[in-house]
């Protein structure tokens, strides 16, 4: 079995995996980081979004061995010293979730959006979230949360 090593949320990790193991399975099953969800088997829902070398990717659409040597950030890696990341805080404040299933992927996607475009308008936010599906909220409060986070991250 191939062995993979990567940095996940700042921690160096190594594991033996079958070649066909998806990154999301490695995160959930080998590392017990179950904050990253699996909501479909067609790469459509976005519940599994994590950052690989700073870019948001669908971790169900990548093999663990393809992330060998990479820096991976999952939802568990966002809060620092017990303080929620401003994006997590904004989702909480604005009621940007109901059941919460889509939330880890939404938050990781949204953080990547603000890295690339610190001032997105509503249309840009909605377009960016095309690959993240939410069955509960109707997206309204998610968009509001991202706008709030954008404002608070500007300081």
């Amino acid at each position: 079995m191939p062995s993979v090593s990567m940095t996940v949320n700042g921690r160096a990790v190594t594991g033996d995996v079958e070649g066909r193991t998806l990154l999301v399975q490695f995160l959930r099953e080998n590392l017990s980081l179950t904050g990253t969800h699996v909501g479909c088997d067609t790469s459509q829902c976005g519940a599994c979004v994590v950052h690989v070398n700073g870019e948001s990717v669908k971790s169900c659409t990548m093999l663990a061995v393809q992330a060998d040597g990479a820096e991976v950030t999952t939802i568990e890696g966002l809060a620092k010293d017990g303080e929620l990341h401003p994006m997590q805080e904004a989702f909480r404040e604005n009621h940007g979730l109901q059941c919460g299933f889509c939330t880890p992927g939404m938050v990781m996607s949204a953080v990547d959006l603000l890295q690339k475009n610190p001032n997105p308008d509503e249309g840009e936010i909605r377009e960016w979230l095309e690959g993240n599906i939410c069955r509960c909220t109707g997206y309204h409060n998610i968009v509001k949360a991202i706008q709030t986070a954008a404002a608070s991250m500007k300081g």
């Binding site: 990717v57 659409t61 990547d112 095309e130 690959g131």
Partner: protein, 270 residues
């Protein structure tokens, strides 16, 4: 690779969904060759009188690249391919190799007269895109071959293009009809080249020579619109399916092509 028993993996955005077996299912054991570490295959560069797009160039790479105005159609198509994460991982060449009749990349690349560069131990060869995609999920690529690049011939600074897609909703949708139009103008403002391709209306996207002939040599103005008609759609063989009937698709194709010419005219004015 040489014995043709490997499946090539680029962005994986067609590969994983096609193979996952049930919720969270692992792709079955098979010999997979991941080519994503071949950095030399990624990126867009000028090469004499053409532009070379490496096989690992993603849709996001394309969107961020400074390219001449006649790449507008391809950039519009890039925004249609899934959401951001799919565009970050998915490659143009993966879209062509997968050869779906509804692949968004194919009509714009047909209009750009793209050539596909293939390599194997037996050597390299180039095929016109029109000869590369043979039908629904069928290409001329041999199992022992890798697609290494696309080549796009350069056009004049006056050339421009556009892409239109008709789907049942705005996002994440398989198209009912899509069209790419590209025109180049001579110094008198007449259409010197017209290249028109329509997708989702046959087993593969097709150029429409009769439409092109109706536009070429004409002044570039509103009078072009009524010159596009149903009788020029001949190579298309649209089907009836859950997304639309064949008749609806023909009508939609004509409407989309006229709208495309309008879009090109307004680009010109801008």
């Amino acid at each position: 690779m040489a014995d043709g028993s490997y499946t090539v993996l680029a962005g994986g955005t067609d590969f994983y969904p096609a193979r996952a077996g049930g919720l969270g299912g692992r792709p079955p054991e098979s010999k997979v060759l991941d080519i994503t570490a071949l950095e030399g295959l990624r990126g867009i560069a000028e090469e004499g009188d053409s532009l070379r797009i490496g096989a690992l160039t993603t849709w996001s790479d394309l969107l961020h690249a400074p390219l001449p105005p006649y790449f507008a159609a391809l950039k519009l198509a890039a925004r249609e391919v899934g959401g951001v994460q799919i565009q970050n991982a998915g490659t143009l060449c993966g879209n062509l190799c997968n050869a779906s009749p509804a692949a968004d990349g194919v009509p714009p690349l047909l209009a750009l007269d793209a050539e596909v560069e293939l390599a194997s131990q037996a050597g390299a060869r180039r095929l016109a895109l029109d000869d590369f995609i043979l039908g629904n999920r069928q290409t001329a690529k041999r199992p022992d071959e890798l697609v290494t690049a696309l080549h796009i011939p350069k056009l004049s600074a006056r050339a421009r293009s556009t892409f239109l897609k008709l789907g049942a909703r705005k996002y994440l949708v398989i198209s009912i009809v899509m069209a790419a139009l590209l025109i180049d103008l001579d110094d008198k403002g007449n259409v010197s080249k017209a290249r028109v391709a329509v997708g989702s209306c046959a087993a593969r996207a097709l150029r429409l020579p009769a439409v092109e002939a109706a536009l070429e040599g004409r002044p570039f103005d509103e009078d072009l619109l009524p010159r596009i008609g149903d009788e020029q759609l001949d190579p298309l063989t649209p089907i009836d399916d859950i997304r639309g009937t064949a008749d609806y698709r023909r009508e939609a194709a004509v409407a989309l092509l006229r709208r495309g010419v309008e879009a090109l005219l307004s680009q010109e004015a801008a």
